[in-house]
Symmetry: none
DNA sequence: ACTAAACCGTGAAGCTGTAGACGGGTCAAT
DNA sequence: ATTGACCCGTCTACAGCTTCACGGTTTAGT
């Protein structure tokens, strides 16, 4: 049986955080001492370990509780969080662009600030990539992060229609139907 | 002269937001009507336009005030925010990885929708790029579109400091001082 | 037995930025 | 003058904690 501050130290949390979790019904101690002290069991410890990792993944206290209570709807909550993270990252990247532009106003100028398709291809060719290597790279991109692949193609100024074409043959190439054959 | 809700609508903000800005001394109306209503001048409107764009870049109210008051330390605040964004993105990517691992346990799915440094390098390697080719590619990127190079590196979640390092040796490599010698 | 340090519980307030409720004021049309 | 539709200022609440204050408890050392 652990007392609250012991448990907090063990997980690098603040005592108040555990008090808060208790108050929110996320983690209640399984017992109390004679003096009314919270006593956490070994099972509580394991539950807390799970809680900590879910919270590290960015789940809210509410979501974490849902995952731990229902147990079955877990995947859907996690997937929703994954989607939310994507949105957050895109929002931050928009902020990056905004700031980069603000900072550029004072310093520098002249060279283009974004890359188009031709420039990109030229850069890859300069690095020794041939058509087949690029096909492989597209396929890999499509396989690992389809959303990001789409976003990237759009950022090169490629039309949405054409991105669809590229992505389709990227997916096909990944299945072994490589374009050059 | 605008009244508070008019101004809020004009900028797509909530009335309470302007009330808050007034309370925090970020934007105080330059006058009051007989009935005690806040009245915003044309100058206030311009100031608000600036405020909105800084806030869109993710500056806190406090930081925004600092930028608008001091005027000269502007760049340093913006750069600090840029660094903070990088850190936030990396934190989110860490959450992505964590979630992807959690989800992969039960089912395959939930691929990340943005790319980080490791994924990017892995994709290029899969396409047959070696270290030297990547160095060439960076050099080419830096030569043709330094700003875009910077933005691209940031989008991978690389810290601003590290992007400076990469860009410096990219520039050096382009001058013939290639890293492999 | 006594004291000091370290602990405990409860309760409240503070943080950011926004949203909403509340009661009263303003304004056009009747 | 009165109705109704807005509008205003002020106050409270939200997440997810942290910090602070108060007073009781345990523990170690003398």
């Amino acid at each position: 049986m652990y007392r609250i501050s012991q448990l907090a130290r063990k997980f690098g949390l603040c005592r108040s955080t555990l008090l808060y979790y208790d108050q929110e019904g996320l983690l209640s101690p399984s017992g109390r001492s004679d003096a009314g002290y919270r006593l956490y069991s070994e099972a509580d410890l394991e539950r807390l370990a799970a809680i900590v990792s879910f919270r590290k993944a960015g789940l809210s206290v509410e979501e974490t509780r849902a995952v731990l209570e229902s147990e079955e709807g877990e995947a859907s909550v996690l997937r929703k969080r994954l989607a939310a993270i994507g949105a957050e990252i895109r929002a931050l990247q928009a902020q990056q662009h905004l700031l980069a532009r603000m900072l550029r106003v004072q310093s520098e100028g002249g060279l283009p600030e974004s890359v188009d398709k031709e420039t990109w291809v030229a850069m890859l060719r300069a690095a020794g990539m041939d058509d087949q290597a690029m096909a492989t790279w597209h396929a890999e991109f499509e396989r690992r992060a389809p959303q990001a692949h789409q976003a990237f193609l759009l950022s090169l100024g490629i039309s949405e229609q054409e991105t669809q074409v590229i992505r389709e043959w990227s997916a096909a190439a990944a299945d072994g139907v490589s374009p050059q054959r």
